[in-house]
């Protein structure tokens, strides 16, 4: 689909509304989730996604296939979200980022849907950058290098964010999964 995405962006650059709406269909859900992970505010996340697609519509001609479309759009969303976090004074420098406590959750989550809900809750409770890195790599399929490009950090920083995030998620989710498996059997 990446090549297909690039072709759609080129068509958007020519003013093709159908191509634009197809990209909205493909990416609005992912970008909304990504923005919400960063901003922790559904309304602000919607505004950021709207601004992202406004830029896509207005600046599709600026797109060059150096980066995949998914990386390009996630990067726009990330930069817009970071601007808002800075305006709020909420963005912490990377080295000072500390793990936040994860709220207690109900155990005995048996069905897949509830496990996914638990996973999403756990990811949402991570510090913003860790949540963003996990979302990009594990849920949205970007490589570590692409995630680094989106987040504006080096590949080593992304690995560090992922490692800290996974450590927290493992502590929260793996006992839960074991309990679920025991409950199901």
């Amino acid at each position: 689909m990446p090549d297909d995405d690039a072709a759609l962006v080129l068509r958007v650059g020519e003013g093709d509304v159908g191509a634009y709406r197809e990209l909205v269909r493909r990416y609005a859900p992912k970008l909304s989730r990504f923005a919400e992970r960063l901003l922790r505010d559904a309304s602000e996340a919607e505004d950021v996604v709207q601004e992202t697609f406004l830029r896509l519509w207005q600046r599709a001609r600026d797109y060059t296939p150096d980066a995949r479309v998914t990386t390009w759009l996630h990067r726009i969303t990330h930069n817009l979200a970071v601007d808002r976090l800075r305006a709020r004074g909420r963005l912490k420098p990377l080295p000072d980022e500390e793990d936040m406590p994860i709220s207690a959750r109900q155990p005995s989550l048996i069905d897949e849907k509830r496990r996914v809900v638990a996973l999403n809750d756990a990811i949402a409770a991570l510090p913003e950058r860790q949540a963003a890195a996990v979302t990009l790599v594990h849920l949205h399929g970007l490589s570590g290098k692409e995630a680094a490009e989106v987040l504006g950090v080096g590949a080593e920083a992304v690995e560090s964010l992922l490692a800290r995030a996974r450590r927290t998620l493992k502590a929260e989710l793996v006992p839960e999964r074991s309990a679920s498996a025991r409950g199901a059997s």
């Binding site: 003013g15 509304v17 634009y20 709406r21 909205v24 609005a28 859900p29 992912k30 909304s32 989730r33 919607e46 996604v49 709207q50 697609f53 406004l54 519509w57 207005q58 600046r59 599709a60 001609r61 060059t64 897949e112 496990r115 996914v116 996973l119 999403n120 996990v134 790599v137 594990h138 849920l139 490589s143 570590g144 290098k145 590949a155 992304v158 690995e159 560090s160 992922l162 490692a163 996974r166 450590r167 998620l169 493992k170 989710l173 793996v174 999964r177 074991s178």
Partner: protein
């Protein structure tokens, strides 16, 4: 031939990406696979991540945005004009600017520089002065007469 991966680096990669090698940096996967074949410790690290990998790999589509947001997004092309394109050749401005700069340098050099030797310039000046003071050649008689006539009119 890929360079072998140290166990320390392998552990860092497992901690960051989990045990699914397709998520790892492409240039380190082959060496990681080779280490996995030979190292029980490496296999133990991967096994310890299996449960979290399973949780992360479960179908987890992003939820659909609100209908209001989708409507706003779909209305953007109707409400907002695309940025006006006055230069449709994308990155062609880069060589264009290069050529314009080269042309400007050329013109500037032509205006400021001395294209002839000093002696040639003096000779040329002498010829120019001579053309004013001496009788004009027959072919230029009309023009010379006109110039003299104009000068007379100004002097009046």
């Amino acid at each position: 031939m890929n360079r072998p991966l140290s166990f320390e680096r392998f552990a860092e990669l497992v901690a960051a990406y989990g045990g699914e090698l397709e998520l790892w940096p492409a240039d380190e996967r082959a060496a990681a696979a080779a280490l996995l074949e030979t190292s029980a410790e490496a296999r133990a690290l991967v096994a310890a991540e299996a449960e979290l990998d399973g949780a992360l790999a479960e179908p987890n589509a992003a939820p659909e945005p609100s209908a209001a947001l989708m409507r706003r997004l779909n209305e953007i092309p109707v409400r907002v004009a695309q940025r006006r394109v006055w230069w449709p050749f994308r990155r062609a401005w880069i060589p264009a600017v290069g050529w314009a700069f080269a042309a400007a340098v050329g013109v500037g050099w032509g205006l400021v520089g001395t294209p002839f030797e000093e002696s040639e310039l003096t000779a040329t000046s002498a010829v120019a002065v001579g053309s004013v003071t001496q009788e004009a050649p027959a072919a230029d008689e009309d023009l010379s007469a006109l110039a003299r006539g104009t000068l007379v009119e100004f002097q009046e």
